[in-house]
Symmetry: C2
Subunit: 560 residues, 2 copies
């Protein structure tokens, strides 16, 4: 062996093993040692909710490769030439001597390794809130294989489960629990679930959960977990109520495991995660960090963020593997892209939400555009709602949220690709996306949303958000809230404060409307709403607007 | 009315009606007249195969709006304020007098209209080949509602149908016919179906058609259609055989309807379609043209192309509608993006194929990377094969082809978005695409393909295409063609000229291989093939390569 350099990796999941494998492929002679605290390595943490639900039926599917071979240390030894030591917990890093030390929990012996390059891939840990009773039995996070095994035993028909936290782990857990027959209640402290979405988009998701039988209680914090004499959870006491519970799932987020790095004196970022540069180097150039324990740059707003995801961990691991073997590779940052499935609904976002963007001082234009995911006459065409956020001054697209039963993941990725390239709305209206009836309508939901945005940015269309309409209603402002759908659509469901004139009658009946008042039009998805605006403008009405998203995305009460 | 300008549109399908509707929304006072030769307007031509198959069950679904209201001239009058005259065939354009003239086929009367601005949206026409017997009964194109009605009557269990042409209309028709129980043969003159794909990608599609029971005969031209005394088709005589046939579907392409434009002296482009600028103006600035009758710029190679598609027609119509009402909007061009479904397979492409790119003189690097469309442990994960074509010198992505049972349409659109933004492979490896197990693997098929491409461009990985391997085999070159899959995978299916050493045994058994010979490795999808290459390199083998795409995309014979 010519190369006697030693690359030590702490943590044998996504980032750590990707880095080690990549390094090995690039340098067959380098010594590589991966130290892992636990038993299971290289497991698909993102797959755990599907193991709980039973969609993934075997535990070993979560850590097997394409051919069904379990990714054990032996597997990595034989196939990738990697040395992986499980049950090896690193407890300290000596940067002067370039040495890590710790304990082998199987043998009880201490170990110590010199390194030339070190990777900290210690991941993140599910947060357990400081609430009385949080240490009772049957309260679990959903982060490890062990967690999922326990939950599989706890779920069952007629059981009562409480999920604490309406983030994506909470929502994926909700689906798993309901599929297993559990009476499920989700409690969320904020006034909306999925804080990663804007309020009105989160309401679409909330309604879907409720349709599927989940009780969702927002603006409601858990105050106490109550147990019986055996220490088993029995009740969850919240601000609003007391829930009987056979078990609880905690989904309130994760925090990066930074203790090792902090004790070694490495710089910790503003988000509380380890600070790294584009090459994934920490403040010590011989120490890299990657995966769920590091903070990263947000490519839209250029601020540090903490968005731990398996996709990012893999990419960062690859970058480290290249850099420790003499390459020069960078990980520029993230867009905060998220996707998740909850029951039949697909929920995606990328870039900044309106809320985020405004908080950062951007002057934004937004649109909410529901549209069918494929040609409306093709079987199983479904609506998805797209919200776009753009900077008014430049037209630059800042973020997208796509929610619905239809193909939202494709549109999320299209927007991620475009936002990644710093595209403006102007540049996007004519992108040659793929069209055939099974896959899209001719212009498609993504470009339709972009075109509405362009119309708004250019002043060609005047829209108003449902949130702004709501504020007007609450302030009892004097305006006409004009529904232009058909009578039967109106009878089926409508907004209480609205009046109805179907679009087809509008040219004849516009005399019924006052010319001196503001008129806000809408329909189911606001396509007819926009059309109505234009008809009224042509008829001499000066102050007309259409409401974004129509009835489909109206986030407040509806009369049925 | 202040505005007395008259906007005349010839053709009431995608481009024409989009332009008229947009113009009306922007200018309520403009006089707009749409002249249409036929009876049906605004129908979804792309939906016709699904109407023949029965997936779309009602004819009026093809020309109804979201609410099921048929888009008749009355509908457009009431809802959009447009005047549409059907059965009005325009036969001449007088550019000096700005006047169109023609005949109303319902009344038999001539008509004439002055225009201020004219739009030619005359579409394209299915090509009927000059073959003896092509005028027999039961030989049909699939372009109009009338065509599809006839075909619906002709299809049926046990009937024999011949499809001429293996383009996407031919392939969509094949699915429709088989679903209706027709014994289907597809005859294609070229040596591959789907000339819009590279050869090896087209083979994946061909195999799928064959799996579904379609007889596919490539490199085979139709010589004659033979009929009975009543003039009904009975046999199709090809270069290779004679096929009994109850009917035939012609799917050999379309040609733009340019007669009116040519007679009016407007410039016709190199492709034979009407030449327009970015604003969709013809060589006469008062005359616009849009939709299937115009040529457009290819955004990758900057050459004029003729790619008639409903999506493009809609976008161009929108541009015309804006420009005739005082706006300044442009249609920059297309990427040649195509998507279609044939049975369970999704087939997409965007940008240039390798074939196209080489013919244009680009020095290209290519990869073929099969990968699962979602986490492999998630139910219904399916393989898709991605072929990428990049310019060697610059790393600029020139084209992508994505084929498989999995979610190929999403990846096609991701690549379309990226190629549209003129992205290089370098810039793409870390795009923050959406990941969760139901939607993608952590890195995902698109970025995996890009990473393999980057490895090749940087010299980090040496690959060879299946086509190049085939040429070596045919030239009886002396090399080792090394399959590194497992024994049972090999027993199931393999390439005749290959030898087997499973990857797990390679480190021990590499002594069996000659160090002085070229070694080309592969597996099912060439992930293990790449790994094997790296192991051999580490073992001192100097001349190793992995074969792109593995057994999954090997386009030649396989031993089962």
């Amino acid at each position: 062996m010519v190369d006697t350099r030693h690359f030590v990796v702490i943590g044998a999941n996504a980032a750590g093993l990707k880095a080690a494998s990549k390094a090995r492929r690039r340098d067959p002679n380098m010594r590589i040692t991966v130290l892992h605290k636990g038993h299971f390595i290289s497991y698909a943490a993102c797959g755990l909710p599907y193991y709980v639900s039973g969609k993934v039926s075997r535990q070993d599917a979560l850590y097997s490769n394409l051919l069904g071979v379990p990714r054990t240390p032996q597997f990595f030894k034989k196939m990738k030439g990697l040395e992986i030591l499980t049950h090896h917990e690193v407890t300290s890093i000596d940067r002067n001597d370039r040495r890590v030390a710790g304990r082998n929990h199987e043998t009880g012996e201490d170990f110590s390794f010199e390194y030339d390059e070190l990777l900290i891939a210690t991941g993140a840990q599910a947060i357990v809130p400081r609430i009385p009773g949080a240490d009772l039995k049957n309260i679990h996070t959903l982060q490890t294989i062990e967690d999922s095994e326990v939950l599989r035993r706890l779920v069952g028909k007629g059981k009562k489960g409480v999920i604490v936290g309406g983030g994506f782990i909470g929502l994926e857990a909700a689906e798993a629990l309901v599929e297993r027959g559990v009476e499920t209640t989700l409690v969320e402290k904020a006034d909306q679930i999925m804080l990663a979405l804007d309020y009105e988009m989160s309401v679409i998701v909330k309604r879907h959960l409720e349709d599927k039988g989940v009780t969702v209680s927002t603006s409601d914090a858990v105050l106490e977990f109550k147990g019986d004499d055996l220490g088993n959870l029995k009740q969850v006491v919240t601000e609003k109520t007391t829930l009987d519970a056979d078990f609880a799932v905690l989904g309130i987020g994760v925090k990066p495991n930074v203790a090792l790095a902090r004790e070694a004196g490495l710089e910790i970022g503003l988000t509380g995660a380890i600070k790294v540069d584009e090459r994934m180097q920490t403040s010590d150039r011989n120490i890299y960090a990657a995966g769920d324990c590091v903070e990263m740059r947000h490519l839209v707003c250029d601020k540090p963020v903490f968005v731990p995801l398996g996709s990012t961990a893999n990419k960062q691991g690859r970058v480290v593997g290249i850099n420790v073997t003499g390459g020069r590779e960078t990980f520029p940052g993230v867009l905060g892209t998220l996707i998740f499935k909850t029951f039949d609904m697909n929920v995606g976002r990328t870039g900044l939400t309106e809320k985020d963007a405004r908080a950062m001082g951007y002057d934004v234009e937004t649109v909410i555009v529901p549209a069918h995911d494929r040609s409306h006459y093709y079987p199983n065409a479904k609506l998805i709602a797209t919200k776009l956020v753009a900077e008014k001054k430049t037209g630059r697209l800042l973020g997208a949220q796509v929610v619905g039963m239809g193909d939202a993941d494709k549109r999320t990725d299209i927007f991620a690709a475009l936002i990644n390239m710093k595209a403006t709305a102007e540049a996007l209206g004519n992108v040659d996306l793929a069209y055939a009836p099974p896959y899209s309508s001719p212009i498609g939901p993504a470009l339709t949303a972009i075109n509405v945005l362009r119309n708004k940015l250019s002043g060609d269309a005047r829209g108003i958000s449902p949130m702004a309409v709501r504020r007007k209603l609450e302030a009892h402002e004097d305006f006409v809230f004009l529904d232009v759908r058909n009578q039967n659509e109106y009878d089926d469901i409508h907004i209480e404060e609205s009046v109805l004139i179907p679009l087809g009658q509008l040219r004849e009946r516009m005399g019924e409307l006052p010319k001196d008042k503001e008129i806000i039009t809408f329909c189911k998805i606001s396509l007819r709403g926009y059309e109505a605006c234009k008809i009224l403008e042509a008829g001499g009405f000066k102050d007309t607007k259409f409401m974004d998203g129509g009835v489909f995305t109206w986030p407040f009460e509806l009369v049925t």
